[in-house]
Structure formats: C-alpha cells, structure tokens
Symmetry: C2
Subunit: 200 residues, 2 copies
DNA sequence: ATATTATCTTGACACTGTCAAGATTTGGCC
DNA sequence: GGCCAAATCTTGACAGTGTCAAGATAATAT
C-alpha cells in the first residue's frame, strides 16, 4: 500500500522506509538524500516536498527507530507484568537486541539529530515516552523492594546509561577482545544489570 | 616550532591541530578536509601527502584526543595513589570533564573511526592503553576490598560503560530536564559510580 | 470546469572527497 | 658543491552531495 500509488503516493513514509533500508545495507556514511530518493523511485529533489532538509529526514528516521524500539521495549515489559525485576531484565534485553539488529539505525538515533533535536517534536515525544517507560519499571521495582527508594528518574538514567554505554562501546569496537571474546554483548549487559540490582 | 618552517613544516601535526580547532568551533559536521587544509594555510589537497583519506585524518585526531584523555586520566590517578577508591572517583571525574570540555573531539573519538578502527594501530594502542589504565585501578580497588573479586576487565567494562553511557546520553540531549535540571553531569556520573561501588 | 495548491522534475550552484599531473623543495650521494 | 631521487605541495579536474529556483503535473476545492 505504499508503492502502488500512481505518480506519487505517501512518499514521505516511503522515503523513511528507504532510508532505514539504506542504513541497514550501507551504514550511516551511505545514507544520502539522493540515494534515498533514487530508492524510492523519485527525482533527487522530490524529498524537499516532505522534508525541509536532510537533518529533518534523519530526524524522521530516528523517530521511526524510536517507535520500533518502544514497541519492543513495551512488549518485553508487558510480557513480565508479574515480576518487576524480570521486566527490567527483559526490557534491557530487548533494548540490547534492537541495537544489535539495527545497529546503524541505533547509531543515528543517538548521534546525528544533535542539538537540533528539540526542533523535532515527534522525536522528542517518543524519546521521552520511551524514557518514561523505563521510569515506570524502576518505580515498580521500587514498590517491590527490588530497587531502593530515591528519584526514579535519576535511577533510570543510571541504569539506562549503563546499558546504553556498554552497547555503544561494543558497537564502536572499544571493548577489548579479552572481554568480548568470552562474553556476548547480551551477557555483558546482563552481568552489569545484575551487579546494579544487587546494590539496591 | 610547528609554524615557522619555510615552505612546509610538520604539516601533519598542523593538520591534526587545525582539525581539533575546527571540531571545537564548528562541530563534527563542520570538519572538512578542505577547511582543515585552509586553516593550516595550505592547498586543498596538500593533506594527501600525509593522510591517504579523510578517515585517516579523523583517526589521527581521535588518536590525539585519546592521548590527551589518557594524560588527564593518568594524572588524576597518580594524584590519588594512596586510595584506590579515590583513584576511581578522580579518574571518572577527569573522563567526564574531558567529554564536557572537548565535546566534539569526544564524539568523534567514539563514533566515526568505526569498523576501520583496527586499521589505525596508533589509535588501537592508545585506546587499549587507556582501558588498561582503568583495569589497573579496578585491580587496585579489588586488592583494597573496594571492588569484589572477578575479572577486572569485565568489571572495568561495566564501570567504564556506565560512565560513558551517561555522558553520551547527556551530550545527545537524551537526559530529561527533570534530571539534568537538578543535577550536573558530574553529579549524575558521581551518583552512578557511588551506587556501583556500593554493590561491591 | 477552473483555479489554487501540493507534489514532483529538471537544471543549476557551491561544496565536498579524491585523484592525476606538474612544480618545488629536500636530502642523500658522487 | 652539484645532481638525482624522493617527499611535499599546487593546480586542475571529476563525480557526488545538499540545496534552491523554475517549471510541469496532478489533486483538491470552489
């Protein structure tokens, strides 16, 4: 339903989709406005009818990435409503898996929008919503005595930061073979989270 | 001693320096080979006598960034030889401060070299050396009973990952105002580290 | 049905990374 | 010292990029 349409269809979504595909196949460096247009079967400046500039397309792609991430995260959390600790573990696992499965989308989500980030309300919204979901779980963990009292937002930043940091270092090849040779990313993240929960 | 030299001098270092300056003033997006050449007072393709391509220049800039980071980190550690826990705290603080003071250099160090990273031995070396320094401190902490036994490399990844992750999220504007409004990055990192040490 | 608007194409511009060819300088070697 | 080879730098070119202006085409509203 996104490609049949005659002279134009919902190009906007087609462009976002094309961008995600290029990202997956050619990486961040291969993501070009003209290439996206080509892949969507449209002239090189057609995208300007839908996005004021490249940054804006990237923001849309990032937003879509966050939507997918949120969906996965939410599903993982909902699948473990009985046990807050398990919600945190499953959520973390989902987050990590998303980064592994969509490496370059993940990279662009957390790198390019930059300071102009606030100019894209949809991005800000889903980004905050995602964070809020983490805070929810932290609160549940606090109620269950799994995490000690204190600002759930601050604690969420702490936990999210650790998971995010380990993933980032791994994706950039910064984790030495000594470690990555013996443990998968999931294992390292899981170990770190376990350590963190132990201190509560 | 880097600029007097007649027709050419040690252009290589001048280019690296120019790159760092541009990074500081115009950000990652503003870092252009031709701009670097211009700033070094040289023609647009002069850099090719010293770097095979742009990636290589970026690798050199990143390497220099790591050298500076290592120096700061090492100084912080050496200033607290009496107390391993304090070494970890001071090292973390130095790392964080470097990221704050040289945001775009920090970003490029951990983002662009990418998979080709292994093609730049100097980068790999200082990068590993820096990590080893963290491992050293972790070992000292273990000896002092500040950190529990276990693979110091894995524990180092855990700690470094957390610090790095919080910094990354902060630099990308991903930490909500609820948190960043009340605490500085240094405070958040410090809080996280304190939490981590408590679990040992 | 016509006029307005949204969408898309074509063509251009400055800028980028990169390469080839030539000029200039340096250093080693007689 | 003077010459030759290598290193260094300049000039000019190329394809590719993001972006904009002008025009063509389709959809929508009246």
């Amino acid at each position: 339903m996104t490609e049949k349409t005659y002279h134009h269809g919902d190009l906007k979504n087609a462009l976002i989709q094309a961008g995600i595909e290029i990202l997956a196949k050619e990486g961040v460096a291969g993501l070009t406005l003209r290439k996206v247009a080509r892949r969507a079967g449209v002239s090189h400046s057609a995208p300007y009818a839908h996005f004021p500039d490249k940054q804006s397309l990237i923001a849309a792609i990032s937003t879509e990435g966050f939507n997918q991430l949120y969906t996965l995260l939410d599903a993982a959390i909902l699948a473990n409503t009985a046990d807050p600790r398990q919600q945190l573990i499953a959520g973390t696992r989902a987050y990590t898996q998303f980064a592994i499965d969509h490496t370059d989308t993940f990279k662009i989500m957390f790198s390019s929008a930059l300071e102009k980030e606030k100019e894209y309300p949809a991005f800000v919204e889903i980004s905050q919503k995602t964070f809020e979901r983490v805070v929810d779980v932290v609160r549940a963990c606090q109620s269950a005595g799994v995490i000690r009292p204190g600002s759930p937002e601050l604690l969420a930043v702490t936990i999210w930061g650790q998971v995010h940091g380990i993933i980032s270092l791994a994706l950039e090849g910064q984790i030495p073979h000594l470690v990555l040779g013996e443990h998968s990313i999931q294992e390292i993240v899981s170990f770190a989270l376990g350590q963190m929960l132990q201190s509560q």
